[in-house]
Amino acid sequence: MITATPVSAEPTPHPEAKAVTNQLGMWTFLATEILFFGGLFVVYTLFRLTYPEIFRQGGQSMDFWLGTVNTAVLLTSSLFMALADRAVRANQRALLTRCLALTALLGLVFLGIKAYEYHGKFAEHLVPGPGFRGPPGSGPRLQIFYFLYFAMTGLHALHMLGGLAAVGWLWRLNAQGRLNSGRTEPVVIVGLYWHFVDCIWVFLYPLFYLAGR
């Protein structure tokens, strides 16, 4: 079945082969993530079909403009992530630094706006639990809407934090001069993740902010 070959005892892993391996790892991880969020989307669909009125009420209480601005901010951050990918392929380290900085900055702006929104909901007693006070005329079931809102956007925000850490790691690699047109794969892999988290938001935005409109 096997034959002896003159290959050296310590085969040096081919960098390109290693890059493909790492990318396949990220794609597999994203498949896991899709199923994780997928379950939440199923839960959302079920409750929206069961209680359409609370999703209308809840959707109307969302701040449309904050959500819309945040969508624009996040999509723009993805643009800079894509430009970072181009910059590293073209070996433009200074440009890469700027792109990564803008990606991270826009990610932080997104989280800042999200935190501001959460604070508003907290102040209005719209956090599910014993302290929940819905607007007049709404029943306790409105909590389900807010529960899903906090669970889904909260998990999304956690993923954003992970993405920011990964962009920080790229920044450090770049500062050490370890990213160039011969080694683009860390940027590609982090980019995949960043765009994925972005895609999740593209679905969350209409489900919560446009639901009552």
């Binding site: 034959t3 003159p6 005892a9 085969p11 896991t32 199923l35 994780f36 379950g39 079931r141």
Partner: protein
Amino acid sequence: MKATAEPPAGDAPAPDYLSSGYSLRSWLCTLDHKRIGLLYLVSITFFFMIGAAAAAAMRVALLSPKGDLIVSDVYNRLFTLHGVLMIWFFLIPAVPNVLGNFLLPLMIGARDVAFPRLNLASWYIFMTGAALALYAILAGGVDTGWTFYTPYSSTYSNGHVMAMAAGVFIAGFSSIATGLNFIVTIHRLRAPGLTWFRLPLFVWSLYSTSIILVLATPVLALTLFLMVLERGFGVGIFDPKIGGDPLLFQHLFWFYSHPAVYVMILPGMGVVSELVACFARKPIYGYRVMAFAILAIAALGFLVWGHHMFVSSQSIYAGVVFSLLSFLVSVPSAIKVLNWTATLHRGSIRLDAPMLYALGFMGLFTVGGLTGLFLATMAVDVHLHGTYFVVAHFHYVMVGGMVMAYMGGMHYWWPKISGRMYHEWSARIAALLIFLGFNLTFFPQFILGYLGMPRRYYAYPEEFHALNVLSTAGASILGLGYLLPLIYLSWSLCRGPRAPANPWGATGLEWQTPSPPPTGNFATTPIVTEGPYAYRPEEP
């Protein structure tokens, strides 16, 4: 097996993986897939013993119909402990994380898995989850059953459900990490010439298992996450009193847990394929069909979760579809049993201990699979649901199937893992004891279930007494059967005769390297020129 890999002339032989370091640190910080496999082996053996002790306590308690020994509440906690530990901390990691971790790179001619650090991290994640589960048990236990059905786990629970659920949640990430690692490893690190249809069926089964782990486990994580949030915030996701949907929990839970059943059987099928081919000295009959059957079981396994919910107010039309799909799964499963049997035909069969386990698997898995058809039939399930028939059915698949395969694989690869031979006759006697004890324990439970004895009760009507005594008697034999390997395998670790590289005369790359293998697995990268089971029955 004519050509073997010779180390390049002049090189000193590389130290084997066991003697490459003796410090605790060299084990706990190792990136070697073989050592990580052994870390898993020690951990899951420990959890198996706790889970088995809980089962023993239940069987002893059921000797008396009135439940004189254990009160209802303790009994509930015992079967929950048994289920949670045996499923998440023994069966799911058993073959993939112990045998799979050890063997996958060896079988495909690689030096290690694709992401060795992730592999080590998966063990630490697993142990963190296990520590939380153990804490929950020591702090007083959980009485929900392993399924965590709401509202037992939310509104009415009085145990440490949060800690237990968190433990299972965390352990899930270890499954995902392992699955991801295996998928990438099989895609990227196969030796030159090792095409997909030259892969041993064990590798095919690990591949399918990994796909299930990666795609199903996140849904369990999500379900437990929602359950814990519901408990924390009192919001109606699953609780109908406040607007939730109790059936939703069961849908989400079984969307994971039914595929997880295949995580608990597919690797066993892979192991049995290796054993049958080696001890019948024949190529596996219908190799490609076997590979596709494994993939088909994994794919269909995602579409049958509703057969756990025929009596849970699920729509009858959904029930019909789930019932039909469940029947469909039996087709590839039957193909596998048929092909193993056909492999035996005119083989040169040797009844060594691993083969005894493999033959035991074939019989017991067939009983477990066929009784599954009863339960997949909606009208029959109404009668059998929630009875001991279900308990017997899944123990025939999980214990009669998976544990038999795990034991068989453990004996088969023990010389490779430890570098030592075990005592063959002790092993044969243990295999027979396990087979007899298992049947005596669980066959009466089919009858008990058919007669209507419900599961999960600490007491039962007098008429079921005799069969329960039989079952407990069988459990004591089964327990002895499991104790024996612990003794003679540990003995062989120190005293067993040294194993040659290929004691069974088996094909497969893992037998082409010394026992135990050196740290880097192969002195030279092997080149594969043949299919996986190039056995000739006329040559012993």
